[in-house]
C-alpha cells in the first residue's frame, strides 16, 4: 500500500457508493484524491444489499466494479481501516489528521488466501451480516471486499498463533500499532452514509429483543445468496418462514424516538424485499402494514403495483404493538386504517421493521461544519447548492446530507465533486503545489501510455 503523501487535492471521507462516485468524478477530472474508509473494505452499505429497486439488478454487480475502479484509479489513493481524527481549516485548504488502525499484517504481502481465517478457532457475530452470521477473529470482510486483505480483530483474538503458522506469505506483523498520519488537502467531501434507526427504545416493537423481528439490512443479507444462511430462514430456529410481515414507518415519522422525518427509501426497499420473498419461498404470504406508500421515484409506482400484483399484501394499518409467542412467532396488534380503525391481532413467522435512516457519522469535533437538527449535515442553500456545507471548502454527498436512495446519492455525490473542483480552481490550490503537480503529471503520463496499449 502506498504511503500517504503530504498533499492531495481532495479528501473524500467514506468509501460507500457516494464517496466512490465523488472520488472517481474528481479523479477523472485530474485531481488527486485521498479516499478514506473506516472499515477494512470499501463498498459501504450498498455492497451488502441483495438487489436494488426498481430494476432488481444485483446490487454488488453494480457496486463492485465501482469499488475496483476506485481502488485502481491512478488519481485515487485508497486508505481503508482508517479514521479521520481532525480536519482543520488552514487558509483555503485543510490539515487532515488520520489514524490508520492496525490490521496486524502487512497489507501488500497478504494474498487474500483465507487460510488464516479457516485456521482461526473462534467465531464471533459478523458485522457485515448484522450479527446473523459468524466470522473469525482474523477474517477477510466478505467475498467482494476491496482490498481482499485480512484483518485481525484483536479484541476477539484467542492468541493461538494459528493464523501466522498457516500464512503462506508470512505477512503477519503482530507488532503493528495504530499509526497517526497528517496530510494537506484543498477540499473535503463528506460521504459518510447511513445507519438504520436504532430500535432499542421502541419497546412496543420488542426493543431489539425479539429474535425474529429483523432489521431490513439483516433481511438483505438473508436474501443474498452469499448471506449467513444461504437462503431465507428465520433466525430463531431455521424454519422456512411462510408468513412474513413488514412494519412500515417503524423508525421514521416517529417523534417518540426522535425521528420526525420520512426516510424516503423504506417503502421501496420493503416492497422490493417483499416481492423477492414471493420469488424465493414458494407459497409465502407477505403482508406490508403501511400508513401510506411513498413511491416517488422513476418507475417506483409501477414497481409498487407490480409487487401487489405478484402477491404482496399491502394492508393499510398501523402496527401498535408486537409480542412474542413461546415458539418465537410474532403477534402483531394492528389498527386497520381502512376498516374504521378496527383492531386486529395477526400472527407471523417473521417480522421485518422498515427502519429509517440516520447519519452514519457525526462531524462533531472532527470537521467544523454544522449539523442540522436531525443530525445530517446542514446544507444552508440546499436548493441552489445542495452539496455546500456551512464550512467553505467542505462538501457533502449522499445520505450524509439526508435520507435518499442510491440514484440520488450518486447524483448528489457527483454534484459534490463538481463543487469541490470549482473550489479547488477558484482557490488556486493546484497551482500552489508545483512539486505534487509534477508527480501527478508523471502519473497521468503512465496512465495515458497504458491506455494507448
Amino acid at each position: 500500500m502506498a504511503k500517504i503523501r503530504e498533499r492531495y487535492d481532495a479528501l473524500v471521507i467514506g468509501g460507500g457508493i457516494a464517496g466512490m462516485q465523488a472520488a472517481l468524478d474528481l479523479g477523472e477530472q485530474g485531481y488527486d484524491v485521498l479516499l478514506v474508509e473506516k472499515d477494512p473494505s470499501i463498498g459501504g452499505v450498498m455492497v451488502g444489499l441483495n438487489k436494488v429497486f426498481p430494476t432488481l439488478d444485483c446490487s454488488s454487480c453494480i457496486c463492485t466494479p465501482r469499488m475496483a475502479e476506485a481502488a485502481h484509479h491512478a488519481r485515487i489513493q485508497l486508505q481503508t481501516y482508517t479514521e479521520v481524527e481532525r480536519v482543520e481549516k488552514k487558509g483555503t485548504g485543510f490539515a487532515v489528521h488520520l489514524v490508520k488502525k492496525p490490521r496486524f499484517l502487512i497489507e501488500d504481502d497478504c494474498v487474500g488466501c483465507n487460510l488464516c481465517e479457516l485456521a482461526c478457532p473462534i467465531d464471533v457475530p459478523h458485522e457485515f451480516d448484522y450479527g446473523l452470521g459468524a466470522r473469525r477473529a482474523v477474517y477477510i470482510p466478505h467475498g467482494n471486499a476491496i482490498p481482499q486483505t485480512a484483518v485481525l480483530d484483536v479484541e476477539n483474538c484467542v492468541f493461538c498463533g494459528k493464523c501466522e503458522k498457516v500464512c503462506p506469505t508470512h505477512c503477519f506483523d503482530f507488532a503493528q500499532e495504530a499509526e497517526e498520519v497528517t496530510t494537506s488537502v484543498g477540499a473535503v467531501i463528506i460521504a459518510t452514509g447511513l445507519q438504520i434507526t436504532p430500535m432499542a427504545a421502541k419497546k412496543e416493537y420488542g426493543g431489539d429483543t425479539f429474535v425474529n423481528v429483523m432489521n431490513p439490512l439483516g433481511m438483505e443479507r438473508i436474501q443474498s445468496s452469499n448471506g449467513p444462511y444461504g437462503r431465507v430462514l428465520r433466525p430463531s430456529d431455521g424454519k422456512i418462514p411462510r408468513s412474513i410481515a413488514y412494519v412500515q414507518c417503524a423508525g421514521s415519522r416517529d417523534r417518540s424516538i426522535g425521528i420526525p422525518y420520512c426516510s424516503r427509501v423504506c417503502c421501496m426497499y420493503a416492497l422490493k424485499q417483499a416481492l423477492l420473498l414471493t420469488h424465493y419461498i414458494h407459497g409465502v404470504e407477505v403482508t406490508l402494514y403501511y400508513m401510506d406508500i411513498r413511491a416517488f421515484g422513476k418507475g417506483y409506482e409501477q414497481f409498487y403495483r407490480r409487487a401487489v400484483k405478484e402477491g404482496v399484501k399491502a394492508t393499510k394499518g398501523k402496527v401498535a404493538k408486537i409480542t412474542e409467542a413461546d415458539n418465537h412467532d410474532l403477534i402483531l396488534r394492528v389498527e386497520m386504517l381502512d376498516e374504521n380503525g378496527r383492531v386486529e391481532e395477526r400472527r407471523h413467522d417473521l417480522v421485518v421493521l422498515a427502519q429509517g435512516l440516520v447519519p452514519g457519522w457525526h462531524v462533531g469535533g472532527v470537521v467544523d461544519a454544522e449539523e442540522a437538527e436531525d443530525g445530517f449535515l446542514l446544507t444552508p442553500d440546499a436548493k441552489i447548492s445542495p452539496s455546500h456545507t456551512t464550512l467553505e471548502g467542505v462538501f457533502v454527498g449522499g445520505v450524509a446530507a439526508g435520507p435518499k436512495d442510491i440514484p440520488d446519492a450518486i447524483v448528489e455525490a457527483g454534484e459534490a465533486a463538481m463543487a469541490a473542483a470549482n473550489y479547488l480552481e477558484r482557490t488556486g490550490w493546484r497551482a500552489m503545489a508545483g512539486a505534487v503537480l509534477g508527480a501527478s503529471a508523471a502519473k497521468q503520463e503512465v496512465v495515458e501510455t497504458w491506455e494507448m496499449h
Binding site: 500500500m1 504511503k3 500517504i4 503523501r5 503530504e6 490508520k100 496486524f104 502487512i106 497489507e107 501488500d108 479457516l118 478457532p121 473462534i122 467465531d123 446473523l132 452470521g133 459468524a134 473469525r136 484483536v154 479484541e155 476477539n156 483474538c157 484467542v158 492468541f159 493461538c160 498463533g161 501466522e164 508470512h170 505477512c171 503477519f172 506483523d173 503482530f174 507488532a175 503493528q176 499509526e179 497517526e180 498520519v181 497528517t182 496530510t183 429474535v211 449467513p228 444462511y229 444461504g230 430462514l233 433466525p235 430463531s236 430456529d237 431455521g238 424454519k239 422456512i240 411462510r242 418465537h328
Partner: protein, 100 residues
C-alpha cells in the same frame, strides 16, 4: 508528514503472537468464557449430528440447547464448511456433518 513505515519488520518466530498477547493483556475473562462455551456447544452439535441429518429444532432438543443458539452455531459451522444442508422436512432444512 508524520507517517511511520507500515512495513515494519514482521514479528516472526515462536514468540511472535506473545508480543500481541502481552500488549493486549491476554484474553478478557468474558472472551475466555465465550470461547469455552463455543467449544462446548460445537462438541455437542458434532456429537448430535453423528446420528444423521437433523433439523435445527431436532438438534437443539437432542443437545438440550436453545434453538436460536443451535441455529447460530450451526450456521457458523456451515459457513466454514463443517456442515452441509440437505432436503426440507416439515418446513425445516436437514443438516449433516460434511464428510471427510
Amino acid at each position: 508528514m508524520s507517517e511511520t513505515p507500515q512495513t515494519a519488520k514482521p514479528a516472526k518466530g515462536k514468540n511472535a503472537i506473545a508480543v500481541l498477547r502481552e500488549r493486549h493483556g491476554g484474553m478478557s475473562k468474558e472472551l475466555k468464557e465465550y470461547f469455552k462455551e463455543q467449544q462446548r456447544i460445537r462438541k455437542l452439535l458434532r456429537e448430535g449430528l453423528k446420528g444423521g441429518a437433523m433439523t435445527v429444532p431436532q438438534l437443539a432438543a437432542a443437545c438440550k440447547l436453545e434453538t436460536r443458539t443451535t441455529m447460530w452455531h450451526l450456521m457458523a459451522m456451515r459457513r466454514y464448511g463443517e456442515v452441509v444442508e440437505g432436503t426440507e422436512q416439515n418446513g425445516y432444512l436437514l443438516y449433516t456433518l460434511k464428510e471427510g
